[in-house]
Amino acid sequence: MSEQYPALLVIVPLLSALVVSVAGWVNKRWCFPIAVAALSVSAWSSVGLLFRVLNEGVIVYKLGGWSPPMGIAYYIDYLNGLVLPVVSIVALLNLISSKRTVEQQFPDKTGPFYTLYVLMVTGLLGIVVTGDAFNLYVLLEIASLTGYGLLAMGEERAPLATLNYLYMGTIGACFYLLGIGYLYIVTGSLNMVDIARLLPPLYQSKAVLAAFIICMVGVWLKMAFFPLHAWLPNAYTFANSASSSLIAPLVTKVMVYVMIRLMLTIFTPKFVFNTLAVHDAVVWLAVIAIAMGAVLALKERNLKKMLTYIVVAEVGYMVGGAWLGNRAGLTGAVLHIVNDALMTLCVFLVVGNIVYKIKGYAFGDLKGLFAKMPFTMGAFVIGALSIIGVPPTCGFFSKWYLILGAIQAHQYGFMVALLFSSLINVVLFFRVFEIGFYEPFSDHEGHEHHPAVMAEAPLTMLVPLYVVAISLILVGLYTGDIVNHIVQFVIPKGFM
């Protein structure tokens, strides 16, 4: 069975999405269990794949039995071996947590919701696992289209925000497609490994340069890298909480994965860092991204929107780290894909719980929340500490590598930006804590307290939340193992 894991990973959710869709017409109650089962199989296969990669090295799976570059093949190496479990597990946990929210928000449309949900996860997993540049585009479109559908179901402003996302996303995906076309026209191949093999003699070609630029801009659009981030905050804020807590942790991170894949596998570091030598400029762009994300987040008086700007800043972390051009920076970027997915999931699940109970997420709605929802807020504290970068949560360790990379690359601007954003994050989160903790203010002596009524979210929402929160600490503690056994093999040999 284990040799079929690469196929099962994607196929099981795809088939299940179809079954869920039919179940939506026949009996709605079956949708949720089928979706959970499908994503569990995915999660199981992805973890199995990771262990196979650890034992055997790179795995190639030929779809349709055609060997690449004729047919499409899956390549699973250390990079996507690490990202796959993250994607599938994050999606699974969020799915379990979303049950009650979905029933509350659109009771009549649970069938299509779970169909889209599972399809979206299929798309994201496919993007990560595929070794074919064009196949990646198709899966990107699946993930995007389903994402638009999921995000648009929300508040009144959600459709407009999503339509803007759709314009931007389409431009991004089309740019990527065009870049792949440029590579195809000069190499004749669509397979990533094959392109990388054919490219070196063409490194001076203008077409390859343009292909790289177009692909990068496309991917940056999709990941909301500043200044191409304008679509993200509104689209994520106004969406329903079950969707935003799937999409916010995963989509930007998967796109960062695509960027690293483009840089490492298709174009190779030799081209990116030696032939092109624009990495300083990109790192400075990342510095601006981080700073602007932090400042814009500071302006918001609304928890969910504040978090979306933090997502924008975190994208800057990863792009900057990847473009530092050294081992520590890239390690930090890859590690941050994992960590940021988990911590963003954690805080968005918290928002989901709050919305479920309080029906609002503006700062004014958060008063007295530590008394009302102590467990949710406890997890929020852990997530926030991880985003701030307090040891031993995982956020600290990726930041550690990123800063180390910045120092080694003499990019002190990036180091300062990281520290600045950490400090701003302290302000951001403690501002929320303060509202939840102090308000409504007690009298002067602080002894008389109105007994706050506990209104905690149901267990199906709390358990996934705590799994994530605890995993933040565990991943932090096992950072050494992750780096030594997985991440260091991601980086090509001979890379500083």
């Binding site: 196929a7 179809l18 779809l63 299509p112 070609s205």
Partner: protein, 277 residues
């Protein structure tokens, strides 16, 4: 915004024009794209898949995995349109007055709120904005639709030997039903193909494709490796590939047919399944 747009456009255009300098000239037979992979497809397709239409072979076999997701894209677009637009019965406000039309005589009766129509085949429900379809268009389309559908089936079935295949055929099939909705009204079309049927057909179409792939997997081959079907179909592996392509093309046809109608129904009525936007 206009100036920003202009700047972005000019910069992007300049980059693309700059890059085009290194491209091979148009229709150059010696370009890498024409010399690297395509000769293999052109020369080996017949041997390997026994399908003369190379596009079909590449589409549904060499790159069949792409195509499966392509069908999924269509399917997800259908689901998204339904998810976003369809107004569920619980939310839908019934109009205060409803209209019923006697099919044979064309007499329309108006029902005030609270009154109900006894179930009867002689009356059909119509909307307030309903206008009688033009007789010539109505009759013309009625005659046309069967031929359109027949042609669609031909396009699907003959995809191996001539331009065509599941997508093209599916779209034509879908168009025939949409033609019915345009020439008559939406309610008529929905009576022929109910919403539930369409929704299920969409999924079934994609399921045929992905299920065929999964069947190969169960038969101890890689996913979508149709040669695994040789044992089931009692043919040699090459012919099995050809048959496999046909099966998935049928799946694609069904999925595209149903999704086209589904998207049309939802968008044209803004999810109310009534006449008029």
């Amino acid at each position: 915004m206009k100036i920003i747009g202009l700047i972005i456009t000019v910069v992007t255009g300049a980059l693309l024009i700059y890059a085009a300098a290194d491209f091979p000239a148009w229709s150059d037979p010696a370009s890498p794209a024409s010399t690297y992979l395509s000769p293999h497809f052109i020369e080996k397709t017949m041997e390997e898949t026994s399908v003369p239409n190379i596009v079909t072979a590449v589409l549904a076999d060499y790159r069949g995995f792409d195509t499966m997701f392509e069908t999924t894209v269509i399917f997800s677009a259908g689901v998204v349109c339904f998810f976003l637009l369809r107004i569920s019965r619980r939310e839908e406000e019934e109009p205060e007055t409803r209209y019923y039309r006697h099919v044979l005589t064309g007499v329309t009766i108006q029902l005030k709120e609270g009154y109900k129509m006894p179930p009867s085949a002689d009356f059909e429900r119509i909307d307030a904005v309903w206008t009688p379809p033009d007789l010539i268009i109505k009759t013309g389309c009625r005659i046309l639709i069967p031929f359109v559908q027949l042609f669609a089936l031909y396009v699907i079935a003959h995809g191996h030997h001539s331009p065509g295949g599941g997508f093209q055929g599916g779209v034509i099939l879908g168009a025939s039903v949409i033609l019915l909705a345009i020439s008559h009204d939406l309610r008529t079309a929905v009576r022929r193909m109910s919403e539930k049927l369409i929704g299920i057909l969409c999924a079934v179409g994609v399921f045929i494709y992905a299920g065929t792939g999964a069947l190969c997997l169960l038969l101890k081959q890689n996913f979508l490796d149709y040669s695994a079907l040789a044992g089931v179909l009692h043919v040699d592996p090459i012919t099995a590939r050809s048959h496999g392509i046909l099966i998935v093309e049928i799946g694609v046809g069904i999925a595209v047919l149903a999704t086209m109608i589904w998207i049309y129904n939802n968008i044209s009525s803004a999810g109310r399944y009534r006449q008029g936007l």
